[in-house]
Amino acid sequence: MGEQPKDIAEEVKHLQRCMNDLVSLLALPAKWAGGEPVQIVDVLLDALLRMLQLDLVYAQLKVKGDHKPVERARLAQGRSLAETPQDIGEIIRESLGADPVEWPWLSRKLLRDRDIVIVPVRLGLLGEISFIVAGSMRPDFPLQTERLILSVAANHATIAVQEASLRTDQRQAAIAMDRLVAQRTAELALANTELSNEIAERKHTEEHLVRSEQMHRVILEAANDAVISMDDRGMIVLVNDAVERMFGYAPIELIGTPMTILMPASMRGLHEAGYKRYLTTGMRRLNWQGVEVTAVGKDGREFPVEVSFGEMTTDGHKTFTGFIRDISEKKAAEETLRNMQTRLSRAGRAATVGEFAAAIAHELNQPLAAVVANGHACQRWLLAEPPGLTKAREAAERIVRDGKEAGEILRRVRALFKKTALEKSRLDLNEVIHEVLRLLAGAILSEQISVTTDLADNLGTVEGDRVQLQQLLFNLLQNGIEAMEPVVDRPKELFIRSRLQGPEAALVEIRDRGVGMTRPDEVFDAFFTTKESGMGMGLAICRSIVDAHQGRIWATPAEGSGTILSFTLPVQHGNES
């Protein structure tokens, strides 16, 4: 303190003020607590301006991360120097130099025509934090007390700014940490959502499975078919309700029991052998889709069933599931139908036999009429005066000829009514064709049908029942004749062709130019008919005759119009007849 106080009283007053200021400065850190460095500097500048009655106070603060220092400034009331702290900083740097480190601790400068004492104060050891520049137009500035206050303030501010900086670092770290936490949380949340979706999906699938299983179970239980699963040891592992209805065993009686319990004793060995073979070789002997077998119920009753199998492999173990349908009723119905068909076809056959017999009777009548007429003629010629011997002899010869033929026809008729089913002999099919054509000559002529035959010489012989084969050809030709009945726009033609088909079979084709068949596959079925009259038996009988002769019969549409009815019969080799 180089200056002399004017008086003691003033000196005391001055010191008192200084003490007050120092106390005020000591209160500043409490004000600064939690503040940003810039706020600290601002508070400091305001406090210094007021305490030291400065005309100018300026601070330059280096803020972490920022390239340019922050500049703040305060001017005393009524003073004008520059508009912004940056301008003030510029004016100071112009007069003191660019580097604050080089600045003198005290200098008297003219700043914009005003004589100002400038005191720079460093914050931090080397002013690495900040510089504060205090300026006053008072010539005695700074007094000793004022220097004390400046340095105390600078120390306090340094600590506060350092703390604040530290806090800022911490806060930034905390923010970064927060951000990281938030990010991680978001990631976790996302993962969580995915997981819960997955869980939901899994749950849905599970529910679906449960539902589906329930449904399957309902179906299984409601099914009329018995469903039985067995494992690879042949033990029953699952049965449905129908099993009890069908076999009479409660499910509990069957689970864990060999499958063979449901089979007749005679089948068990076969089943076990087949099952073993399948498990080892994978070879199936049975058709897995619907095989008819005999099943045995608890009461020992045997009944026919139709079984379909399914196979499933789980964890290396095979499970077989059989779907079993009781076909007793179906079988019975089939049997009834078959009996009915047999009866009806017998009736139908009798009907066609009737027609056939009528044709034969007519055929028999012709030679018989001729024989009688010839006989009378012969008598008359012999009784004539003079007797017409030549004429009588001719008549007698005709009697023998026609009588023989009548006898042959009679033999055929007798054979027809014989109860014995088949009387097989070696026959020339061509001959049979001719015989039947003769039988049908009347119908052929009255229907104005032209008949073309193309019969193979090398046809050989077939072994068959003459009457049945006659009936076969009769029915086939009759069918052709009837098919052409409605035809008016084209000639009615029947073509009969016989051929050797391979070394083993004789083929006969009968082609008509009739209305044709829409369903050639069905024409041989009993009751199939397109005619208004008729039982639909004619061709069914043909098939039964061909079947009885180990032949084959079929129908195909003829080119243009009409139908070809074809049959083959096995050819007999050798010369015996």
Partner: protein, 207 residues
């Protein structure tokens, strides 16, 4: 045998039957013509003699009954049907349509012979009837238009006087026409002229 001696036509598709019937009918002293179908029969030249037709019911080209219908329009000989089937409905139709007989094969020679005799007798009568009619028709063509006009009055029994008044002429002229008519038609009496007019289908003049 003279051209007037009767002839029997046989139509049957069965050669054996044709041969036998041909021989049998010959042995009865009758002429025979055999045909295998209706077509052959229809197309054949047949002698102008009393005849009959032995017709099989089942013919190859047409039904015997159908041929019978076809022949009904022309002056065809009477028909004897023969059939292999004892077909009652067919025989009924055949008889209704004027068949002489319906014989089921086989038949005896007497049955056939009697049927043929009956048929030929009927044909003879028919032929005679036909020839008489032909003669009457020939005679009728000789009449003058005025005589044809007068004829219905004469056969209706009108007196010449009445006829003359009706036709606006004299009684004497009508008397001359009447004499010409009797002469040209060859009628010996009014009663005979009336029968002739009847057969010619000339309507009497009503009073």
């Amino acid at each position: 045998m003279s051209s007037d001696s009767p002839i029997v036509f046989v139509v049957d598709d069965d050669l054996r039957v044709r041969e036998a019937l041909s021989s049998l009918i010959s042995s009865m002293g009758l002429r025979v013509g055999v045909f295998g179908s209706a077509k052959e029969y229809l197309e054949a030249d047949k002698p102008d003699a009393p005849a009959c037709l032995v017709l099989d019911l089942q013919l190859p080209d047409t039904n015997g009954l159908e041929l019978q219908r076809k022949l009904a329009d022309v002056d065809s000989p009477p028909i004897i049907f023969i059939s292999g089937h004892g077909d009652v409905p067919s025989s009924v139709s055949a008889m209704k349509a004027g068949a002489i007989e319906f014989l089921s094969k086989p038949f005896g020679d007497d049955e056939l012979s009697q049927a043929i005799k009956a048929a030929i007798t009927r044909d003879r009568m028919a032929r005679q009837h036909r020839s008489e009619l032909t003669e009457l028709q020939r005679r009728y063509t000789l009449l003058s238009p005025r005589e044809r006009e007068v004829l219905p009055y004469v056969v209706a029994g009108f007196a010449n006087k009445v006829t003359a008044a009706e036709l606006g002429t004299s009684e004497i002229t009508i008397g001359v026409h009447r004499g010409q008519i009797m002469r040209k038609m060859g009628a010996q009496s009014l009663a005979e002229l009336i029968r002739m007019a009847d057969r010619l289908g000339i309507a009497k003049k009503s009073a």
